[in-house]
Symmetry: C2
Subunit: 370 residues, 2 copies
């Protein structure tokens, strides 16, 4: 059975997808290493030590790229968060989480049987995490239990806000709480160096931001925590318990390797991407929409309040789906079907000419229905 992808040649502004588009090398890798367990041709018991294909070398280069002592491959950012949380979990354990966190941060904590205490954000319209509130949250947490970890989302997927990592790290480390930075939307787009910014753990996503097929992610950590997170099985001494021995036993890892050169290059032109995002914001706001999230904006994830579209949706037959249908006609993919009150999109690595078409499309749609 073969299933065709419907939006294959569409202009794609789906926030989940702009950073996961494969490179040509990654596409070639798919066919070369597609067969099940082919990456284990010469495995001697540990995924991250495989020499042919060069996974061991890659994992070392990846650690350098992340500014971490040690790196590992995971099935994605969420699985990385769970691995860390599950390793650090205690009875009455608590995780401090910024309130812009992805749902999978909460669910990871729940799976690891940890309670969550949230750090507020500033609310409408910027929704900025209030970094200094991590202090209150830790205090509150310690009244209730044992605070084992703080998680900061960098940036969050809802507003594309990039909080000030250093101030959170200073607060947490002062109180001996390790910090995990969720970089699902940053590692592979912009430079993230765990050592420079002082965090203990970083997680990233291959399919979200590293031009890879899913499921694959990265986890970087400092030596100190490697002893806990990478603890070995008592019975099978070379197997890491949290990874059930080996994690990504397949081709998504090869696409990550294939695209790594490209990813290392593209993080250097991040400023250009931010500039383009800001240009898009100006153009889009001139249509009467309003950016949510921090200003000036520092990321390609954009969330707009789109009151005008919502007003139209109340009058038309298809309701909220009118927008989706109009965009589909114009071969534009990525706005959630049915949504009109506010919409989310990403401009990452979308050519400016395509973004102009997107802006023009919204202009036409507003004209048509006004």
């Amino acid at each position: 059975m073969f299933v065709e992808r419907k939006v294959k040649n569409f202009i794609n502004i789906d926030p989940l997808q702009t950073g996961g588009k494969l490179t040509e090398d990654a596409k070639r890798m798919l066919l070369e290493w597609g067969d099940g367990y082919s990456i284990c041709d010469f495995c001697q018991g540990n995924l991250h030590k495989i020499k042919t294909p060069p996974i061991a070398d890659f994992v070392e280069e990846l650690a350098r790229f992340l500014g971490c002592d040690i790196a590992r491959i995971t099935h994605g950012a969420r699985e990385g968060k769970f691995i860390v949380m599950h390793s650090l979990a205690k009875n009455n354990g608590i995780v401090i989480v910024d309130s812009n966190a992805h749902y999978s941060t909460y669910v990871s904590a729940e799976r690891a049987k940890l309670d969550v205490i949230e750090v507020d954000n500033t609310g409408y319209p910027e929704y900025k995490v209030i970094e200094e509130r991590f202090e209150d949250a830790i205090r509150e947490g310690r009244k209730k239990g044992d605070v084992v970890l703080a998680v900061l989302t960098y940036p969050d997927g809802n507003y594309g806000n990039l909080p000030d990592v250093k101030s959170v790290v200073d607060i947490c480390h002062d109180k001996n709480i390790p910090v995990l930075l969720n970089c699902a939307y940053s590692i592979g787009r912009m430079e993230v160096n765990a050592d420079k910014i002082g965090v203990d753990f970083v997680v990233g996503s291959g399919h979200k931001s590293m031009a890879s097929s899913g499921p694959v992610g990265v986890l970087g950590m400092s030596e100190d925590f490697a002893k806990i997170v990478l603890r070995r099985s008592e019975r099978f001494n070379d197997k890491e318990v949290e990874f059930l021995g080996c994690s990504v036993r397949g081709v998504p890892l090869m696409t990550l390797i294939a695209s790594f050169d490209h990813v290392r290059e593209r993080v250097k032109v991040w400023n250009e991407e931010v500039k383009k995002a800001r240009w898009f914001i100006r153009e889009f706001e001139s249509l009467g929409f309003k950016l949510l999230g921090e200003r000036p904006h520092k990321h390609d994830l954009l969330h707009f309040k789109t009151e005008k579209l919502y007003e139209i949706s109340k009058k038309v037959k298809k309701g909220g789906y009118f927008l989706y249908n109009e965009l589909k006609k114009r071969r534009i993919h990525g706005i959630k079907p049915g949504r009109t009150k506010s919409i989310k999109l990403s401009t990452y690595f979308v050519p400016k000419d395509d973004l102009k078409k997107v802006i023009q499309a919204f202009e036409e749609i507003l004209d048509k229905y006004s």
Copy 2:
């Protein structure tokens, strides 16, 4: 960066790999759905409910195929085992495990903080699980703690033994212990119907036995246990905690779907595969090797005691690697480099003509060094 696979056009008898070779449709799927998160084009919050591509339909058909009330997609058999164990875990919890279990069964239990009690096998040369000993193991377990699950490996990867499931199920159910059947080497090769054989859980592996790219696996369960294993997040009511929301967010799932028609057909000709394996055993034993594992053999996973090769390895310069080098010259892949005392291979879906070449190769090698 592109990495070529060295053994691409080799005769492949690697036990890990013979069941994971992609179908042509699966290869086409790789390119169609390779981009990160493309399978989530029209997701409304749950992987297993996605209609385009038809994942929801597939998951339902999969449940029927497995003879289970409910099925889910996992990253592989081991992740399925961990999901079940972690869901059923208690303080002082114990899992009963057959002593032919894969290492990842033990590591899954360890990760879920469960102790393991092993059920003996008959030892050399057949290593058959002694089914009735599950009774003693449960008794022993209950003295030490709370027995939450029994795991039976069907077949094990070491000898390819297929134990009598029914007798284990009868013992365990009589004592109210649920049974998980590890079918990493059976689901996708032979018929496994959880309902017919009475087990509560089955796990399977896409990359091992379902003609898929890794990492992807299947988990089937009965309605009763779905309440526990598929429990939802308190905060995010539509997210399943053990799956961190969604599991395989990428193209391996599409290869599983692509190959499913083929897999459903091929399980029907399993008898032919067993016949071929038995023919291979006869031919191989006639060279002076001896099959380990049960007789008559009921699976394509074959483990031979190869004393003659070991004797050669003691005399030659390259030691145990002489065999690997000789096979490599003949473009035969799958025997672990360095091993000569005993070797493991699989005849699954390897054409008989290729298997004849394998037998001839061993004959030549023995001749050359004798």
